[in-house]
């Protein structure tokens, strides 16, 4: 196929050269119809955004295109020709390259080794190691990433890992690049960079399928948007017709008016205080969260904001400093000690620190919270009560499908996240520390979670919201600490909390420097 004139600008009319066509695709799992008669087409040079609530079937669709899962019905055409494939290798040979929602690099290998894993350069089983760095640098240059090829992947920040995944995806003859929530765990600046990269790649003639829950990205990245709901295609729109409100309505079937609930903040006594905390990633951090308050911590990736939450919960070592929970000192933090004192922490890395994926959703919801759920007495389990509580939270957080007896790994990413939230909410704790609570969560559920946080604060709980999503911090927090390189560089209250004020401090400018006039906001 000949290259088509690239459309580098979002919103330009799509070129009618269907690189990929999907016709009435269907996929059933036992008890779930994940995809139902879905059509989709992607042209070369186009960025096509897939939108839908958690569990709508987005990941399932792209897993089929990636050859990881088989469709139950329907067909796939590449360049107008019917193709059959059911292994990732075959998909790759057709030029379809996929970057999955869940991390897929080998963390203990270097960047270069990861890039060429499976097809290391060399002959007859011998690896030509000396050629790796140069080849890797070439591949990384395509994504404009300045990452040393010899670095071990685990030591890189998430944004760099994401770029490595994309560089890996672009190796070979990639013509269609599929990105499943690539910006979910990136900060604003990193996301911006990634979106620019995606546009540039589209400009080079690649077709791109881009999945996201961040609606504000759509005008910047998309040419067209397809909305899925409950496995069905609801609509496909050019980006100029895809106003945020319209999309939300198509996705959820309702309109979400106020994402962030309005609330009166009447702070009570301090519930969580951190004093002079110093650790591997932190220097002399002091913060306080009062009853009835929502306090945000903002900062770039690597600013240490997550380390604050982890340290209070005993997951990160602390060298010096004091943590106080509800007025009593908490000398050597540990998870079980924290929970006993009424401090709940919601980890951001749900696969590693959050969930036992091969257990039922019920077991994950009540993990460590069995007695809080009233489902255990003298060590004996009351399984009916356990199930009742699980059902209750599945309903309140609208987990789909609403059957918590299923294995957790069978739920979509966003729904897994909800199980994690449910676990903490069961405990009637005084302090709730959320670390990136809405990563991968759809807009309807986001609204629900914000409402839940507001309710917690209303009920006199102290809420600490650690987030890379600036809009979320601005919308929810009564006070904001801004962190940079392990230190608190600003403390903003009430009216002072504006986007430009927070952004000014993101890059470490201290309180004394005057904020940039006007145009600091993105």
């Amino acid at each position: 196929m000949t290259a088509v004139a690239p459309t580098a600008e979002p919103g330009a009319d799509p070129v009618p050269a269907a690189l990929l066509q999907v016709e009435s695709l269907g996929k059933s799992f036992p008890g779930v119809r994940a995809l139902d008669d879905v059509d989709l087409d992607v042209s070369a040079g186009e960025v096509h955004v897939l939108l839908g609530e958690n569990g709508a079937g987005k990941s399932t669709l792209i897993k089929i295109l990636a050859g990881v899962q088989k469709a139950t019905t329907g067909r796939v055409l590449v360049d107008g020709r019917d193709v059959e494939f059911d292994t990732p290798r075959q998909a790759k040979a057709l030029g379809i390259s996929t970057i999955f929602q869940e991390f897929s690099l080998v963390p203990t290998l270097t960047v270069a080794e990861n890039l060429f894993l499976g097809h290391l350069p060399g002959t007859r089983g011998l690896v030509a190691r000396h050629r790796l760095p140069a080849l890797a640098r070439e591949a990384l240059a395509r994504v404009e990433a300045d990452i040393p090829p010899g670095a071990v992947v685990a030591t890189l920040p998430r944004s760099a890992q994401q770029l490595v995944e994309i560089a890996k995806g672009l190796l070979g003859e990639a013509r269609l690049l599929i990105l499943d929530e690539p910006t979910a765990s990136l900060g604003n600046r990193e996301s911006q960079h990634l979106i620019e990269l995606v546009r540039a790649l589209a400009g080079q003639g690649l077709g791109i399928i881009y999945i996201t829950h961040r609606l504000q990205e759509i005008p910047k990245v998309a040419d067209r948007v397809t909305v899925l709901r409950d496995g069905r295609r609801i609509a496909t729109l050019p980006v100029r017709e895809a106003a945020e409100g319209r999309l939300v309505e198509l996705m959820t079937g309702r309109s979400v008016e106020d994402l962030y609930p309005t609330r009166q903040c009447t702070p009570g006594p301090a519930r969580l205080t951190v004093d002079g905390l110093t650790g591997p990633e932190l220097r002399d951090v002091s913060i306080a969260v009062h009853a009835g308050e929502i306090v945000g911590i903002a900062g770039l990736l690597g600013s240490g904001k997550s380390a604050v939450g982890r340290s209070c919960f005993g997951l990160d070592p602390m060298r010096t400093g004091h943590v106080t929970v509800s007025g009593t000192p908490f000398p050597r933090p540990s998870p079980s000690g924290a929970l006993r004192r009424g401090l709940v922490y919601y980890p951001s890395d749900r696969r590693r620190q959050g969930l036992a994926l091969n257990q039922s959703l019920t077991a994950n919801i009540t993990l460590g919270s069995l007695s809080a759920a009233g489902a255990v007495r003298w060590g004996a389990l009351n399984r009916r009560q356990e199930r009742r509580v699980a059902d209750e939270y599945v309903g309140r957080l609208s987990v789909r499908p609403s059957d918590p007896g299923r294995r957790t790994e069978l739920f979509s990413g966003g729904n897994q996240q909800k199980a994690l939230l449910a676990r903490g909410l069961i405990r009637d704790a005084a302090v709730h520390v959320f670390d990136e609570p809405t990563v991968g969560i759809d807009i309807g559920a986001k609204a629900d979670i914000y409402q839940l946080m507001a309710d917690l604060a209303e009920a006199g709980k102290a809420v600490l919201l650690i987030s890379s999503d600036l809009a979320e911090v601005l919308g929810m927090a009564d006070r904001v600490y801004v962190m940079h390189e392990g230190q608190v560089v600003a403390h903003l209250i009430g009216e002072e909390i504006t986007e430009s004020a927070v952004l000014t401090h993101f890059f470490g400018t201290s309180e004394t420097s005057t904020p940039l006039p006007g145009g600091a906001s993105a």
Binding site: K70, T236, L367, G379
Partner: protein, 347 residues
């Protein structure tokens, strides 16, 4: 339902299916059988097939006597497999079960043959000493794994050597004899209401373990630690305590098997039990227990034990040589794991 189509899609008629074989219109029986196999694995079917084959080849196979025999022979493996399962559930492994049996046997026999006093007291002392060995072995393994972070594979390989050495040292390599007769008569060959005593004991412990695994919060913690140790810790589970309990539970169940086996062979032997290491892992995995933790069903594990018990009993009856038997059991194990993997990837 009609969907809003705001862009043009090609008007090609809906083609048949991409994967015609994946789903036929009406195959209820086939899909039901397939569903049952996917849910429970091949084991129940294999077990049924095997019983049928042996029953046809050798009519004596289904006699009450022979079936009682199968029960008698299988209880030791059952107890040790349950022990192994507890550890597999929390993503650990115990290679020292055989050595635990040996050391238990020697210590129990020595205590019983050397203690003086009323027979019931002597027996009780011996049994308690055996169980004590179980506790010690469990604590040793747990210390190595939970405290020193030695992988359980290495830790229990080491403790195997330690326990075997101790058993040989204590017994000076010779069988320990002079066990009280009532001990042999009751725990070795006795029956109670027609049920062999060891069988009754094994059934009792199976039921207890069932309760522990599925109806206590400890059971939940066990599965959670095996499913994801990090996540369990973050959720407030005291992972170390769970691991210690699991190791102790495992070794105590094994020690009980060791005591019963001692009564059965009527002497304390430092060579007893080594075959149970492989067999217990085999039976547990046959029963669908995952080697990676967090997955396994007690009922299926019991079937796994029965499968191995019946297989060796049947092969004995039809005069298959013990060399061939070993080969068959190895093949079955590898096959079982392979089927399990296939099952996992098709889900």
């Amino acid at each position: 339902m009609t969907s809003l189509r705001s862009t043009t899609t090609s008007a090609t008629p809906v083609a048949p299916t991409m994967t015609p074989a994946a789903r036929g219109p009406a195959r209820p029986l086939r899909s039901r059988v397939l569903g049952a196999v996917l849910k429970n694995g091949l084991l129940p079917l294999l077990l049924l097939a095997m019983v049928t084959v042996f029953a046809i080849l050798e009519p004596r196979f289904l006699s009450v006597d022979n079936l009682t025999n199968v029960g008698r022979q299988s209880v030791y493996l059952l107890l040790i497999t349950l022990a192994q399962m507890v550890l597999l559930l929390c993503a650990q492994l115990d290679l020292s079960v055989g050595a635990t049996v040996a050391l238990t046997s020697v210590v129990t026999a020595m205590v019983m043959s050397e203690a003086s006093g009323p027979t019931p007291v002597v027996i009780l002392l011996g049994v308690l000493a055996g169980i004590g060995i179980g506790v010690l072995m469990g604590l040793l393994n747990a210390f190595l794994v939970a405290q020193l972070k030695v992988p359980s594979f290495m830790a229990t390989l080491g403790s195997t050597s330690i326990a075997t050495g101790a058993a040989l040292m204590l017994s000076k390599g010779a069988p320990v004899i002079g066990l009280p007769l009532p001990f042999l008569d009751v725990f070795g060959t006795g029956s109670w209401l027609g049920v062999p005593v060891p069988v009754a004991i094994a059934v009792l412990f199976t039921l207890v373990l069932y309760g522990v695994l599925y109806w206590t919060s400890f059971g939940r913690s066990l599965f959670a630690v095996g499913g994801n140790q990090h996540a369990a810790a973050v959720a407030g589970i005291r992972v170390k305590a769970v691991l210690v309990s699991a190791f102790v539970l495992c070794s105590v169940l094994t020690a009980i098997a060791g005591v019963l086996l001692t009564a059965r062979v009527a002497s304390g032997e430092a060579t007893l039990g080594s075959s149970y290491v492989l067999l217990s892992i085999a039976a547990a995995v046959l029963g669908g227990t995952s080697l990676f933790g967090g997955e396994g069903r007690l009922g299926m594990v019991v079937l796994g034990v029965l499968f191995i018990g019946i297989l060796s009993n049947g092969m004995n009856l039809v005069h298959v040589s013990s060399y061939v038997q070993q080969l068959v059991i190895g093949a079955v194990l590898v096959l079982a794991v392979a089927v399990d993997r296939v099952k996992a990837t098709t889900q």
